[in-house]
């Protein structure tokens, strides 16, 4: 008789059950221990299984943590941080665990599929049918050969999302050999505006590291390092220690973020007004005499002549490692008092003054940790400069306890593709890239060059306008721009126009819906060899992982196996250049050419990391860190650590036009001038074209710009605050049930749902209540979500996290997968496709207004 709750409750017998068979440790050697005080109850305590922790790494966000995976009987079961990483040790951010659910997701693409419905559209069923890898690659190669036969190889294009260290082959060189300039990365929907400020002050176009263990004061500005950016594992680990050691922490964020809860001061800046706060803090630091004498310099008479409202003669100040402090003061800072900023930025003057003063007093062991929130705004470029410049002002740039650039592993390089590029390839790969970078209204001044950086989200418009031309044959991997770019609807229409699109990803997604070929990708963490480097904690680590489990499905590595298979097919069709090129990827140890895609995979990583594992190359390249004697030894350890960072080496040795930390940016002036010259105009015209309102000399100093908002306040009364869901793995984890079960770990959010948060005062005014379904409208789209009232938000703002709204990723992510109904909504349906144009960065913050009404 089966005893159930029901018959128990009905008074049935409650004795004599327990005859069920359970899965008690079938595979283990058992031992019996008496561990219970009840002599009638004997308990068997099995031993834990003997699996193996094996090294790999996680590309679930830009933290790029080194991991170990617990493998039992060929299955990946658990993940933890690689204990040997000097960046984060064994600390493991919460979303790393979700990778386990990703790799075993029954909704993954299981074999190559071909579209049989030629009509593309959001409402079209692609009618995918299985196809062999051989036939799939044959078809793909035919399409490329057609381009070559018609001398239009530039109409080939490759989209890259996330990637491993060897992406230089597929992303960097393969398009060139085919004959195309079009390798389009995701970088500008990631953080380019964040790099703009550090570049145009200190010549560094990259993320910074922060010497938090030696700092006394930290300002987390538009960044939530306990949540999403960056090196989350490290910051989760170190924050408690910082608090215990008395480090003072202030957080600047329009919402009360995870980091704000762990900060002594929360400065709830109005969205987009970061620049006002930054220049006011700079004003305080100068007027209070708290700038670094050692780094910036001093007045000839040793006094302090920074008096509000008064200009200063440049000759009165003797500058040391910086450029243009007096120009900055005269052009911008002299009138930027905390009282001026109070109303604009929404932070009271006393708090601005106190934070600036405490920061200045703690300096140079004081740092501003800047994230994208303060600058991935339509007018965010100068915010990026202003926020970062605070580090220069107090001499913490490159200083102990300050913001640092980090040291990289010196790696090997792949064969130069030039000699494998035939005449067609050379000619066509020099054509304009399809993202319109370098156009007059898109300077994208990466590394100081007009059109130096990618403008990812512009590609959709470029395709729709066929300007500069319409690409015909494209492949994308580890990307889903239809979902991850603002105004994805443009991507839907754009991808409809692409004659042939192959998508190599682990999961079907919104972008896959427009594919002609679905090519299942291996999961980077478990199913392929993988490697990446990242900095944090004053070190750089480089991890490497072997294939830890057999691919769960018939998946291939897009960065190695796929180019190999394509090369084979192109060779069969009479174009052998790619195969000739790949055959140069010989095993550095044996000299043997690769004979298949798996050998190519290994050789790529082996070539790239040779300066790490080959002691001779290690010496030659002057790598400094862990030393290995062989490839096997390196692979077995799975991680290389640099030596500790060397401070102050860049002082007066910065890769800027002046070699100094530039408050007056000659570097930016040069870049803007080059761009203006290219378009036969002047800098003022370029800035106006790029939505900035500055003219003249102020354009070369960090300065306040009123935010450029999309949407009139009358029609769209709320400012929209986007943030990234804690467990989002860059938008790729919502088909994991753990993402949904723990969605409410984002304060104010709800499990298995999607909420938009609003201050209760505003909700009352609108007659809305917690739990109401609301319609959110913006000038560019609409979405629905559950309203949650949340006091940790400024009245007049609403906040929603990015991560839900997938209709195409699987049965967990979607509310109705077959019916293509998303669970919740995608923030990108509300954000207009606009840019911080000087960097090419897509705007996500401080630039958008919405309206809220009952759905």
């Amino acid at each position: 008789m089966k005893i159930t709750r029901r018959n128990f409750l009905e008074g049935a017998a409650v004795l004599g059950f327990g005859a069920f068979v359970y899965d008690q440790g079938r595979r283990r050697r058992m031992e019996t221990l008496q561990a219970d005080e009840d002599p009638t109850r004997t308990e068997e305590i099995g031993e834990l299984v003997s699996g193996e922790w094996r090294p790999t790494g996680c590309l679930g966000c830009t933290s790029w943590c080194a991991k170990e995976v617990y493998v039992v009987d060929g299955r990946a079961i658990k993940v933890h941080g690689h204990p040997d990483s000097k960046v984060h040790g064994s600390a493991d951010c919460p979303r790393a665990h979700l990778a386990i659910q990703q790799v075993y997701d029954p909704d993954r693409i299981k074999q190559p599929m071909i579209r049989t419905n030629p009509n593309k559209g959001i409402d079209e069923d692609p009618m995918f049918e299985p196809i062999s890898w051989d036939d799939a690659m044959d078809l793909f190669a035919d399409k490329i050969m057609e381009l070559r036969d018609n001398d239009e190889t530039h109409k080939f294009g490759l989209f890259r999302g996330r990637y491993t260290n060897i992406n230089g082959l597929l992303y960097g060189n393969l398009p060139k050999i085919i004959g195309s300039p079009n390798n389009i990365s995701h970088s500008s929907i990631c953080a380019e505006a964040e790099k703009f400020g550090p570049y145009y002050t200190q010549g560094y176009w990259n993320y910074r590291d922060y010497d938090v263990r030696n700092t006394k004061y930290m300002i987390c500005w538009g960044v939530d390092p306990l949540n999403s950016n960056r090196q989350v594992s490290h910051y989760l680990n170190v924050f408690g220690e910082l608090l215990e050691n008395g480090v003072q922490i202030a957080t600047v964020d329009p919402k009360h973020s995870s980091t704000a809860a762990k900060s002594h001061v929360w400065m709830p800046v109005k969205p987009g007004q970061d620049g006002a706060l930054a220049v006011a803090m700079a004003h305080v630091i100068l007027t209070e005499g708290l700038w670094s004498r050692e780094f910036v310099g001093e007045f000839n008479d040793g006094g302090n002549h920074f008096v509000a409202g008064e200009t200063i003669d440049e000759g009165d100040f003797n500058e040391v490692h910086t450029n243009g402090i007096i120009k900055w003061w005269n052009l911008e800072l002299k009138d930027r008092t905390p009282e001026w900023a109070e109303e604009i930025a929404g932070v009271d003057a006393a708090t601005i003054r106190k934070v600036a003063t405490d920061f200045g007093n703690a300096a140079p062991e004081a740092l501003v940790f800047m994230g994208g929130g303060s600058n991935m705004q339509i007018r965010g470029g100068y915010n990026s400069m202003a926020v970062h410049a605070l580090n220069g002002l107090v001499g913490s740039a490159e200083h102990e306890g300050g913001t640092i650039t980090g040291r990289s592993a010196k790696l090997g390089s792949f064969t130069d593709p030039a000699e494998f590029m035939d005449e067609i390839a050379q000619r066509n790969s020099g054509k304009q890239k399809i993202d319109q970078r370098g156009y007059k209204n898109l300077p994208a001044l990466k590394d100081g060059k007009s059109g130096g950086g990618v403008v990812t989200n512009r590609v959709a418009d470029a395709i729709l306008a066929e300007d500069p031309y319409l690409p015909k044959v494209m492949i994308g991997y580890f990307c889903n721009f239809n979902y991850s770019c603002p105004e994805g609807e443009r991507w839907n229409r754009a991808m409809e126009k692409i004659e042939f699109f192959a998508h190599c990803v682990t999961h079907y997604s919104e972008m896959s819906h427009f594919a002609d070929l679905l090519l299942p990708s291996t999961h980077h963490m478990f199913e392929q060899m993988s490697s990446a480097a990242q900095k944090g904690n004053g070190y750089t680590h480089l991890w490497i992982g072997e294939r830890l489990i057999d691919p769960v499905f018939d998946a291939k590595n897009p960065e190695s196996e796929l180019p190999w298979m394509l090369a084979e097919k192109l060779e069969e069709k009479g174009f052998s250049n790619l195969m000739d090129y790949l055959k140069t990827f010989s095993d550095p140890e044996t000299g043997a050419e690769p004979t298949d895609g798996m050998e190519l995979e290994t050789n790529c990583f082996k070539i790239l990391t040779e300066p790490i594992w080959n002691p001779v190359k290690y010496e030659e390249t002057e790598n400094q860190g862990t030393k290995y004697n062989s490839w096997d030894e390196f692979l077995d350890a799975g991680i290389w650590n640099s030596d500790a960072y060397e401070f102050r080496k860049l002082w007066s040795n910065m890769p800027t036009a002046t070699g100094k930390f530039e408050f007056y940016s000659e570097t930016l002036k040069n870049a803007l001038q080059e761009h203006a010259d290219k378009h036969e105009t002047d800098i003022d015209d370029i800035l106006a074209t790029c939505n900035y309102d500055v003219t003249g000399e102020r354009a070369f100093v960090p300065h306040y710009e009123e935010p450029f908002m999309l949407g009139e306040e009358s029609a769209y009364p709320f400012t929209f605050v986007d943030a990234k869901a804690r467990l989002a793995r860059e938008g790729r984890s919502s088909n994991c049930s753990w993402f949904q079960d723990f969605k409410d770990v984002d304060p104010g959010d709800i499990k298995w749902g999607d909420s938009i948060k609003m201050n209760p005062e505003d909700a009352d005014r609108l007659g809305l209540e917690d739990g109401d379904m609301v319609k959110i409208t913006s000038p560019s789209g609409e979405a629905t979500a559950t309203l949650k009232t949340w006091i940790a938000l400024r009245p007049g703002t609403v906040q929603k996290n990015f991560g839900q709204g997938h209709w195409a990723m699987g049965h967990v992510a979607a509310e109705d997968y077959e019916g293509r109904k998303a669970r919740g909504s995608n923030n990108n349906d509300l954000l207009g496709a606009e840019y911080e144009r000087l960097s090419g960065s897509t705007a996500f913050y401080g630039s958008f207004r919405v309206n809220i009404e009952r759905a």
């Binding site: 008690q24 658990k78 995870s258 409410d744 940790a792």
Partner: protein
């Protein structure tokens, strides 16, 4: 005999839920069930805000109401001499009396067999191909002392990872916490880290008025603002 307890340092806790996700991973806990969870509260008024996050799990009470309420013989919910409140899934009849008696809401009842997604269709095919019983990332360690996966019409809850503890390991939430907020150990040992932390810090437990004498203690405060 040991007296096991856990101390959670609220200042060190970063509210990331790594403990709770890792717990599901370790203990093969199905969707919608939370052996480890959290209570989040936002208080104050803009801009003077405090956020709180309290990790929750079975308190392994000294006076466990779940045990008292359990009607089976022997008890399905029962306290061991080392203080761990254990569940015997074989004896459990799924009456939910323990769940109703627990003042902390940390006992969960399986209305249906967990891991449904891997028991049918494409999910079942993946499990079959990969192995792992029940589902592909099934952790066999859990079955060392308890049902590897608890079945329909049974309750389940945190066991302080007894399968790990009896094998000389810390509970998995302790290991998986990136913030080093959790300490597990023996209260009967005055030199243990948990004893030291409780001796040196003001501490509190949840719902002391229930008289349950929880063995999960909290020290310091989550939001560090004055």
């Amino acid at each position: 005999m040991a007296k096991y307890a856990m101390v959670i340092n609220q200042e060190r806790c970063m509210g990331c839920a790594a403990c709770s996700i890792a717990c599901k991973n370790e203990n093969n806990v199905g969707d919608g069930k939370f052996w480890s969870h959290y209570i989040m509260e936002t208080t104050g008024s803009f801009p003077d805000i405090r956020q709180n996050y309290i990790s929750t799990l079975c308190n392994h009470c000294e006076n466990p109401p779940c045990e008292a309420a359990c009607p089976t013989t022997p008890k399905s919910m029962y306290q061991k001499a080392d203080g761990i409140v254990m569940h015997d899934e074989e004896v459990c009849i799924g009456c939910r009396a323990c769940e109703n008696a627990c003042p902390y809401g940390v006992i969960y009842y399986n209305e249906e067999e967990p891991f449904q997604r891997y028991r049918e269709g494409e999910g079942a095919e993946v499990t079959e191909r990969v192995g792992g019983e029940h589902f592909p990332y099934y952790n066999p360690d859990r079955a060392a002392t308890y049902a590897g996966v608890r079945r329909a019409n049974k309750v389940e809850k945190c066991t302080f990872c007894d399968h790990r503890v009896y094998n000389g390991e810390d509970p998995y939430c302790v290991v998986a916490c990136p913030a080093v907020a959790r300490t597990f150990g023996d209260l009967d040992d005055p030199d243990s880290e948990v004893s030291r932390l409780l001796a040196e810090n003001d501490h509190f437990v949840l719902k002391p008025e229930e008289g349950t004498n929880p063995k999960v203690y909290y020290i310091k405060k989550y939001d560090v603002k004055e």
